[in-house]
């Protein structure tokens, strides 16, 4: 009952015309960001973050989150029509979505993807409504040792769930954590690695790093000759799937919704992983597995539902614990902090308008996205016809403005440029930059909680095993490391290796 009252409060915030307007802008921009190759949700959110500075926290987070889950919708359009995933989570949709398009069922594939995304997104929000407050209440018991253990577990989970090498992921995370130590040490007041550059005294901001690594870095490695502009424009009357197609989509949507939400809570690139696992699951339970790869409806419905539910699931640890599960939620946490709203266990009680307004806006946002993505798909497809050569200068300009406007600092823009070059290099050498961003975000919390724990215990590491919650979290981390070691030593191809192969579709 209390949840319903709170949700009512949320709707009274989310349905205000000004909040609705920013939810609409977020969903629209998210759809475009998801469609356009070379700019993913993270770069989109980072670039547009400065636009939210003049807004209150509720409008800002509603708009930025709209970009995130809107991009999951938009990503399916390019996957189905072009066989190019607009963003990584749509890789699996390419296979059967594009095969359906080649059979003349592009409209039906788009409709199933949009309806699946809507059902899964709504299911995810219902679960978020029910799950996040109790988790936040439980997390109020957490002290510095528990937070240290939780953050370490998050990093190890991220490394375990990633398709790349565990050691490379941990190397990137350590580098991010190291970058996060730049600036004034809040416990002692020492300047660390600022090299007499005043702007570095406040540390390296997440926005220049994220925009550089994911926005500029992507553009540097994408020459315009590699981006094709040939698209099929589906007609509106072709959008409605047949009765048989609806029947084939029902259960995959339901399974994808549940699976995606559960995986979304776990740190890592959950929305990507969930779409892969959903595809594998649908193929396994299907009576006609031979249809997969040739235009199976379940191959579109399952992964599309799963990646949307996962995007919503990722908000649970972000809102309830203040812990990012990936780089996107890391930037969203940074956005909340910029607006003076610390996410975490106290968010529900201290800022109920923000928390419940945000949750309620997601119900509304999912409806908006359904309305946007079905009738306007023909219009969106036209945007894909803009030559990439004219599009990326615009993106670079927005990167420069976006980063500069955060602190009116040209040093931040130089950092973005350096990170762009670093992102290009990391991509070439097969390093995933996502853990770097995550490390940068959690560095201050991790360092503070680790040092506080050590002070509490007078220098004894045993504090982490004497407290039951911290011990349990560390035991999970140890278990994951052991599992990784077993997989490495036995050299068998597990689900992560298969996912890496599937992702190769995106980056051949």
């Amino acid at each position: 009952m209390e949840t319903l009252d709170s949700l009512w409060l949320g709707f009274s915030v989310a349905l205000r015309p000004d909040v609705l307007w920013y939810a609409f802008i977020g969903c629209l921009v998210g759809t475009l960001v998801g469609m356009l190759p070379g700019i993913g949700p993270l770069a989109g959110i980072s670039i547009l973050l400065p636009l939210t500075f003049g807004l209150d926290a509720t409008k800002a987070i509603v708009m930025l989150a709209g970009i995130y889950y809107g991009s999951q919708y938009g990503g399916s359009t390019t996957s189905i029509l072009l066989r190019i995933p607009g963003e990584a989570a749509s890789v699996m949709t390419c296979i059967d979505g594009n095969a359906m398009a080649k059979k003349g069922r592009a409209g039906a594939a788009l409709c199933i993807a949009a309806v699946g995304s809507f059902v899964a997104g709504t299911f995810g929000v219902i679960m978020l409504t029910l799950v996040a407050p109790p988790i936040a209440a439980f997390a109020l018991r957490f002290g510095p040792p528990e937070y240290t253990a939780l953050l370490l577990m998050g990093l190890i989970f991220l490394a375990y769930m990633s398709t790349g090498s565990l050691v490379r992921i941990l190397l990137m995370a350590s580098f991010g954590l190291l970058l996060g130590t730049i600036g004034i040490d809040v416990m002692t007041g020492h300047f660390r690695y600022s090299f007499n550059i005043a702007e570095l005294g406040d540390g390296i901001g997440i926005v220049p790093v994220a925009v550089g690594l994911f926005g500029l870095g992507e553009i540097l490695s994408t020459p315009s000759r590699r981006v094709t502009g040939k698209v099929v424009r589906p007609r509106l009357r072709e959008l409605w799937p047949s009765r048989a197609e609806w029947r084939s989509a029902g259960m995959p949507i339901a399974r994808g919704s549940v699976l995606g939400f559960v995986i979304g809570i776990i740190p890592g690139s959950a929305h990507i992983i969930s779409s892969f696992i959903s595809y594998a699951l649908e193929k396994r339970v299907s009576r006609t597995p031979e249809e997969f790869g040739k235009g199976a409806v379940a191959g579109v419905a399952g992964p599309e539902s799963a990646n949307n539910a996962a995007s919503t699931g990722a908000f649970v640890p972000m809102l309830a614990l203040g812990i990012p599960t990936g780089p996107v939620t890391a930037v969203l946490i940074a956005a909340l902090l910029i607006h003076g709203v610390p996410p975490g266990p106290t968010l529900v009680n201290d800022h109920p308008n923000v928390f419940w307004g945000f949750v309620a806006s997601m119900y509304v946002g999912n409806l908006m996205l359904l309305a946007l993505n079905l009738p306007l798909v023909g219009l969106f497809v036209n945007i894909l016809r803009i030559p990439y050569a004219f599009l990326y200068p615009l993106i670079i300009m927005f990167c420069v403005i976006g980063v500069y406007e955060v602190n009116n600092s040209i040093v931040d823009v130089w950092i973005m440029l350096i990170m762009g070059v670093l992102g290009y290099g990391l991509k070439k050498f097969g390093f995933d930059p996502a853990p770097l961003v995550l490390g940068l975000v959690i560095a201050p919390i991790l360092e503070m909680s680790l040092r506080q724990s050590l002070i509490m215990s007078d220098g004894g590491w045993s504090i982490f095993v004497q407290r039951p919650i911290a011990a349990a979290l560390l035991a999970v981390s140890a278990g994951l490391l052991v599992l990784s070691a077993i997989g490495y030593l036995s050299r068998r191809k597990d689900w992560r290796a298969k996912l890496a192969e599937a992702e190769a579709i995106k980056n051949p």
């Binding site: 190291l178 200068p393 300009m397 420069v400 070059v421 007078d458 220098g459």
Partner: protein
Amino acid sequence: MVFAASGDLPFGSLSAPGAGMMPKLLAGLMMLFAALVVAGAAQSEALAGIDWSDRGHAALLVVITAAAVAAYRPLGFLIAMAVLVFALLVLVERRKLLVSAAYSVGLTLFAYWLFGKALRAPLERGLLWF
């Protein structure tokens, strides 16, 4: 590098960790992980197999963007950004001069209106008076 740059930062003790403890621990961890990456190098793709065909494109983009960033404060938003877009279109994409000029000016004016007027974000004026 980290160890050299953190010479004056106190490591402290476990019961009273200093400002240098975390960076040095992390630098140590990085060295360990880097050594493990090197040890497992045989299973990775050969360096010679990496496709660098886009390096010219990337280098040109970096140089042009760096020049625009350097010119951003002295010249101001409108001039620096218009030149950035124009240079990218003409030097990297080999587009026609007139089309590039029209697109770069139009785009920059739109961004000026969006950020500077509609969103009231402070943009660098530089040489211009508005």
